[in-house]
Symmetry: C2
Subunit: 248 residues, 2 copies
Amino acid sequence: MSNQNIFDNQEFFEGYKKLRDNPWAANYIVEKPALFSLAPDLNNKVVLELGCGYGENCVQFLKLGAKKVTGLDISAKMLEVAMNENYSPDIQYINKSMTDLHELTEKFDVVFSSLAVHYIEDFDKLVRDIYNLLNEGGYFIFSQEHPLTTALLTQDYWTRNSDDEIIHYNLTTYTQEGVRTGTWIVDGVIKYHRTFSSIVNSLVSAGFVIEKMLEPVPSYDVMNQCPPYKRYIHKPDFLLIRVRKSNP
Amino acid sequence: MSNQNIFDNQEFFEGYKKLRDNPWAANYIVEKPALFSLAPDLNNKVVLELGCGYGENCVQFLKLGAKKVTGLDISAKMLEVAMNENYSPDIQYINKSMTDLHELTEKFDVVFSSLAVHYIEDFDKLVRDIYNLLNEGGYFIFSQEHPLTTALLTQDYWTRNSDDEIIHYNLTTYTQEGVRTGTWIVDGVIKYHRTFSSIVNSLVSAGFVIEKMLEPVPSYDVMNQCPPYKRYIHKPDFLLIRVRKSNP
């Protein structure tokens, strides 16, 4: 099930599009700024994005100076949108699962992945494949659902008081790695929980040097404008890591 | 307050001694085996332990081949026990706070610290000082209270059902770093909460290469013999990290 393709499910696809149309979505407010803050100088670089979806980031990489961008996604439906809305002669979109990276022959300077790796069962293989695709000195920069989010077996996230204010996050089964099946737009979405230490150890074992980790939190201004973001006081939604092939 | 010295408080000192006399203490069952599993070959190495307490680990480092061991602790009372119970001509005990490491002039091959760094306010300075004390290729290996433990402002850790079984861990204020005042044997014990990413970024900024991280969990056998350890299914008690000065 490590290459499930929920994004080609029509109901999911439409729900996801609606979610992404909301400018207050955590992707725009929290995740994307953090991801781009980790980017090295992209000038003249050859970039790969794993799980590129609509191709919004791919276009951004070009604007930041990348010479050539490859966007890879398991969903043909998502890539159809990408080809229509984010076409460029310097972007190549490939319909392929992240589990089949060993089939690529090109080399890259920077590999990005935004909120996709938690769908992949074999993280060790994934990071080994990415390491092999990178030129010496190359970067792998990714975001994923935070391990404190993926930990939960149920979606009973928060305990609230009678005023509907959050008292605490209901953390369960953090140390029990493996599959989690839940509802996100549709039922039966499969994700994989890994602990912090396990994620770090996989990256180090593949040969990567850990350069930076982020657990971004929106500003108090954002929290006041959009109170649901106050949940970040207790638990972040995303984890981001930048690693490098070889020491600088 | 970064150099509080609770261990010289008589009430704390006696309570702590009792705690350590319990062979089922998490230190013996979980933390110490994990700490020693991260040790490199100590043969002929010069070792420093920060927060050495009774000196139990110092003796162990000698048994593992260390040439010379320095044990540093803020508590004169703890070092008195160390001198009586764990004396060796090859161990030097120094009564000093971990905040004053810059005063040491000797260099070391391996620096250990067991469950002490969460008492230190300025982690950036601490790791810079340790980096400066290490020989090229040297290791810093430490354990600390898990960030999911240090996060809490109150000691209302768990939600239980009517059969007193744990339902979940009550996680609060994980993203809010800083001081936490709580009760551990005595009232008013001060610890400092840092997130995972902050700990990792401090180590990397000091120049260290992250080699291995552990969030150890006791075996199911241990959980069955000592049921309170079943809490580790939801949340580990300790975080351990091995970092190295320069790439191997």
